[in-house]
């Protein structure tokens, strides 16, 4: 328990120097017009980009749109990528910006009452039986509890402010370091740490019953 959890498992590949070098080689091939290299970059990162996008936008269809738009932007702007930063940091910056733009566009189309309603519901997420079944009533096993917790997490994420959502998704799903997040989101490292702390606090508050449920079952 006291071991500092290292970066999330998914970060191992992009953090490896050889992978970054491989990315740069792929980027150079794309810049030279090699479309198979673009497909290789897509194959390498699209699932993770999607996972990040789902954490930011409201649903999977919107996340697919965001990933599509992000890779189109990557392709169109690949000549501008100088290689001073890692490719995946650049990619996630684009995914984040596109995803945030996406939810802003959608929110503008919705009524202004939506956000207030969501805020009122925030404290009730844990007790929302329609969204997340009660742990005790369902008599679940460990896997079922995790699924329920996953659903609750998705609901809780949707109620975070977008800048909080972005940092916690990049940290916990992508395993980015503070430095990488600062680069991807173009904010100071201190801001990243502050946002991450507040995002975690809100997630803990929203998920409190589920966190203790998991703990009890695993003990």
């Amino acid at each position: 328990m006291n071991q500092p959890p290292s970066n999330a498992s998914k970060s191992e590949e992009p953090n490896a120097g050889s992978s970054i070098k491989g990315d740069h080689e792929l980027v150079q091939r794309v810049q030279a017009g090699d479309q198979t290299a673009f497909r290789e970059l897509y194959d390498k990162y699209h699932r993770r980009a999607f996972a990040v996008a789902v954490g930011v936008v409201k649903n999977q269809d919107d996340a697919l749109d965001a990933v599509q738009e992000a890779f189109v932007k990557v392709h169109k702007n690949i000549d501008k990528f100088q290689g001073t930063s890692s490719f995946y940091t650049w990619l996630y910056r684009i995914v984040m910006n596109v995803s945030i733009d996406h939810i802003r566009r959608k929110s503008r189309r919705k009524s202004l009452d939506f956000d207030e309603r969501a805020l009122h519901e925030e404290s009730e997420v844990a007790g929302d039986g329609a969204l997340v079944p009660s742990v005790t009533d369902a008599n679940p096993g460990k896997a079922a509890l995790r699924r329920e917790l996953g659903g609750a997490i998705q609901a809780a994420l949707q109620q975070l402010p977008e800048h909080h959502r972005a940092v916690i998704v990049l940290r916990e799903i992508e395993g980015m370091s503070y430095e990488e997040m600062a680069e991807a989101l173009e904010v100071p490292k201190g801001t990243i740490m502050s946002r991450l702390f507040h995002a975690r606090k809100k997630m803990q508050a929203a998920l409190a019953p589920y966190l203790s449920g998991v703990e009890a079952s695993e003990d």
Partner: protein
């Protein structure tokens, strides 16, 4: 202030952002802090659950279909971009040499026909001796071949109608 500093250090410990020395110190502090251990435990649970659910999300993608959408959008935007003006490129036309040869032959025939018609239309008294003239011939058709040309009807000195055929040297449609 002190609490905020502790929270910051605890979070950095959890995220593996401390130096080895700081990390060792934090580990010692945590041995005496049940509150800190509980905090770490909850953060771990959130992390594990987020990674688990993200794996499920990512597994739901139809990768080829999504890539096809990307390719389609890239293709569409390429069509929308203004077409770059390229200088005309000279190309070899298959059979071009043969066309020139047949054009020259046709020109020769047309020229011969023009001379023949002019001679035929010449007044008899001006005709060179020994050349039989068939006057009053009618020009029905002239094959210009690959050349352009013009047929004129002009009035002769005795008021008769004369056919004059003009054939351009330049072949039509040749680069």
């Amino acid at each position: 202030m002190e609490s905020a500093k502790t929270d910051e250090k605890l979070q950095m410990f959890f995220d593996g952002e401390l130096t080895p020395e700081e990390e060792a110190a934090m580990r010692r502090d945590l041995e005496r802090s049940s509150e800190g251990k509980a905090q770490i435990r909850e953060w771990e649970q959130i992390r594990e659950a987020m990674q688990s659910v993200s794996t499920e999300w990512a597994g739901a993608i139809d990768s080829d279909a999504l890539f096809a959408r990307i390719e389609a959008e890239l293709g569409a935007s390429a069509v929308e971009e203004p077409v770059q003006q390229t200088p005309p490129v000279l190309r070899v036309v298959p059979g071009g040499r043969e066309r020139r040869v047949w054009g020259a032959v046709a020109t020769g025939f047309a020229a011969a026909a023009a001379i023949f018609l002019a001679v035929m239309a010449w007044p008899a008294e001006q005709a060179p001796p020994g050349v039989g003239m068939a006057r009053g011939s009618e020009v029905l058709e002239v094959d210009f071949g690959a050349n352009a040309g013009t047929i004129f009807n002009v009035e002769g000195g005795a008021g008769e109608s004369l056919a004059v055929i003009w054939i351009d040297d330049q072949e039509v449609g040749m680069p």
